[in-house]
């Protein structure tokens, strides 16, 4: 829908020009000085041009189009649709800093390219732009346009998670993990008397000759079945804490360093890739009300959906409430990604563990840089870290494994995978 053209308004420059030309003419007449009268001529002519032009046709409509981005940089092309002489652009780059530019209005085409270095993964606003049309050396001012926002989702860098722990009971019918039930595809299970439903090719003739007790008794060779596991990735997005502790709560994303949500997105992507590569089904839940949920699935297309959802996952609003009970398939491995400063994620993990799921708590807090902290701040940090230590102790006690993503997650996960709970 096209917006109706709004007339602009005059700046004080026009009134000054008219008043100046009159004053100069009067002074020239009073002092009999034609040179003083002549000084008012350009002002009178300029005013005549201004009034002849009027205040219409100064609307400006900006637009922002993403361009192919180089490594570690987001580029956005800003263009303005306008018939006016010049346009004032106010551009907010990546919510970090604002820039203003006066660009030509009519027939200029796209002239402005915004570049922003990618400092964090996840949803980003590389450009927010508003425009105001100007005409006649700024004597006509348009109403500022609405703010146009360009949104992007920055995928986290893929990091190999290695081997994932398996659930205590494998229930799937297709996959690469050896289950405990008899079936096909796995290793040798046992020798068992032939029963209706057994395939004749399974009959082990040598075992039958050696161990059959009665004439006509047949023994079959049974194998384990192959199953897939169900993996659930649960992301706690209530906090986004950077490695620079002094930047916590400041919203300074430039100084924060790697943040907990960067780690959470990286972990979620790495774990999803590892699970899908192993032929498992993966579900994703963001633990806030209204948070994104992807149902269990497998395969390359599901992985693409998961990666898109992970890249679009940002910090929850401050007033967002925690979602405690997303649906988890029976017999799943639940990977809870959180900083565990707040007890809600730990309680959810404990609840899932009590329901019989295998739960791994993945601590996504980055390595902390304690520089620039005052003594009271250091004491406060030690206190909250000690509380977090208590949370981890509770989790350990309930049989929840804890992995620190900032250290060596693949070997920790391998170690956990090798122990069956």
């Amino acid at each position: 829908m096209t917006r109706p053209s709004m007339p602009g308004r005059w700046s004080p420059a026009l009134a000054l020009a008219i008043a100046g030309s009159i004053v100069l003419a009067v002074l020239g007449l009073l002092f009999s000085r034609p040179d003083v009268v002549a000084m008012g001529l350009p002002l009178a002519l300029w005013s005549a041009l201004a009034l002849g032009r009027g205040t219409s046709g100064v609307d400006a409509r900006p637009s922002a189009a993403p361009r192919s981005s180089a490594d570690g940089e987001l580029r956005t092309e800003i263009s303005v649709e306008s018939d006016t002489e010049m346009v004032e652009l106010l551009v907010v780059l990546s919510e970090r800093r604002s820039r203003r530019a006066i660009v030509p209005g009519s027939g200029s085409g796209a002239a402005v390219v915004a570049r922003s270095r990618v400092l964090h993964s996840g949803p980003a606003l590389p450009v927010q732009v508003a425009a105001r049309g100007l005409a006649l050396d700024g004597a006509v001012l348009a109403t500022p346009s609405e703010v146009v926002v360009s949104r992007r989702q920055v995928a986290p860098t893929p990091r190999t998670a290695g081997m994932l722990p398996l659930p205590r009971r494998l229930t799937g019918l297709h996959g690469s993990h050896e289950g405990r039930r008899p079936g096909q595809g796995g290793d040798f299970r046992d020798i068992h008397p032939f029963a209706p439903g057994d395939e004749l090719r399974r009959v082990d003739w040598r075992a039958t000759a050696r161990m059959a007790r009665r004439p006509g008794e047949l023994l079959v060779r049974r194998t384990h079945t192959l199953s897939d596991a169900s993996v659930v990735i649960a992301m706690d997005t209530s906090e986004d804490l950077g490695e620079m502790v002094s930047s916590w709560g400041s919203g300074d994303v430039e100084r924060s360093g790697v943040t907990s949500l960067d780690n959470a997105r990286e972990a979620a992507r790495g774990l999803a890739i590892a699970a899908i590569d192993a032929g498992d089904r993966v579900a994703l839940h963001v633990l806030v009300h209204g948070g994104r949920s992807l149902r269990s699935g497998s395969g390359a297309r599901h992985l693409a959906r998961l990666e898109a959802a992970i890249a679009a996952t940002g910090q929850a609003r401050d007033d967002a409430s925690f979602r405690r009970t997303p649906h988890v398939p029976h017999g799943s491995v639940v990977l809870v990604l959180s900083t565990f400063f707040q007890g809600a994620a730990a309680q959810t993990a404990l609840m899932w563990r009590a329901s019989g799921h295998r739960v791994v708590a993945i601590d996504v807090l980055p390595r902390l840089d304690r520089s620039r902290l005052s003594r009271p701040q250091l004491i406060a940090l030690r206190t909250v870290l000690a509380e977090r230590g208590n949370v981890f102790a509770d989790l350990h006690g309930a049989g929840v494994d804890v992995v620190t993503w900032a250290e060596d997650p693949s070997s920790a996960l391998r170690e956990i995978a090798s122990t069956r709970r």
Partner: protein
């Protein structure tokens, strides 16, 4: 040195400071060239600096007034009159621009093309008229010449017409909406 995290790439542009410095330069040139009184020269420069720092004060118009005072206390001269016509117009245009070019912004040079064209157009009309008016005054020395009366009358009539037109257009806009 590390490259900045966020940059805005435009066509060739100048900083907002250039416009402010140009305003100070024009007022200073006008004051020193057209005003023989040293005190008024420095008043004009101070007013120009004030206008550059705080454009909303319109102090540059005070600088233009200093030029007018200089013209009044000096003998009429065609060259000085032509320079005054050029400088007063330039002061007005630069004042208008500094009002709408915020601090910290960049001005793409091609955005100033309509301003330059209009400036040249207005000067192309005003300068010959100035020459005609000054030559007319030179022909009748010592009295209030016909040129002064005619020129002054024309400017006043033109401004009166303009004000009426402005009033009409404002009332029409009010009716529209």
């Amino acid at each position: 040195m590390r490259a900045p995290n966020d940059t805005l790439q435009t066509a060739p542009a100048v900083s907002w400071i250039v416009m402010r410095v140009a305003l100070i330069a024009v007022v200073a040139v006008g004051a020193f060239a057209l005003n023989p009184l040293v005190g008024w020269q420095w008043v004009a420069v101070i007013l120009a600096v004030t206008a550059a720092v705080l454009p909303q004060t319109f102090a540059a118009w005070g600088g233009a007034a200093c030029i007018v005072i200089g013209m009044l206390v000096s003998e009429p001269d065609i060259g000085r009159a032509m320079l005054a016509v050029l400088l007063v117009h330039a002061i007005h245009v630069l004042t208008s621009l500094t009002l709408v070019i915020p601090a910290g912004s960049r001005v793409v040079l091609s955005a100033l093309r309509p301003t330059v064209i209009r400036f040249v157009l207005v000067q192309a009309i005003a300068q010959p008229l100035t020459v005609v008016v000054m030559l007319g005054m030179g022909a009748i020395e010592g009295t209030a010449s016909w040129a002064v009366v005619a020129g002054g009358g024309a400017v006043v009539a033109a401004t009166a017409v303009l004000l009426l037109a402005a009033g009409r257009s404002a009332s029409a806009e009010r009716r529209r909406g």
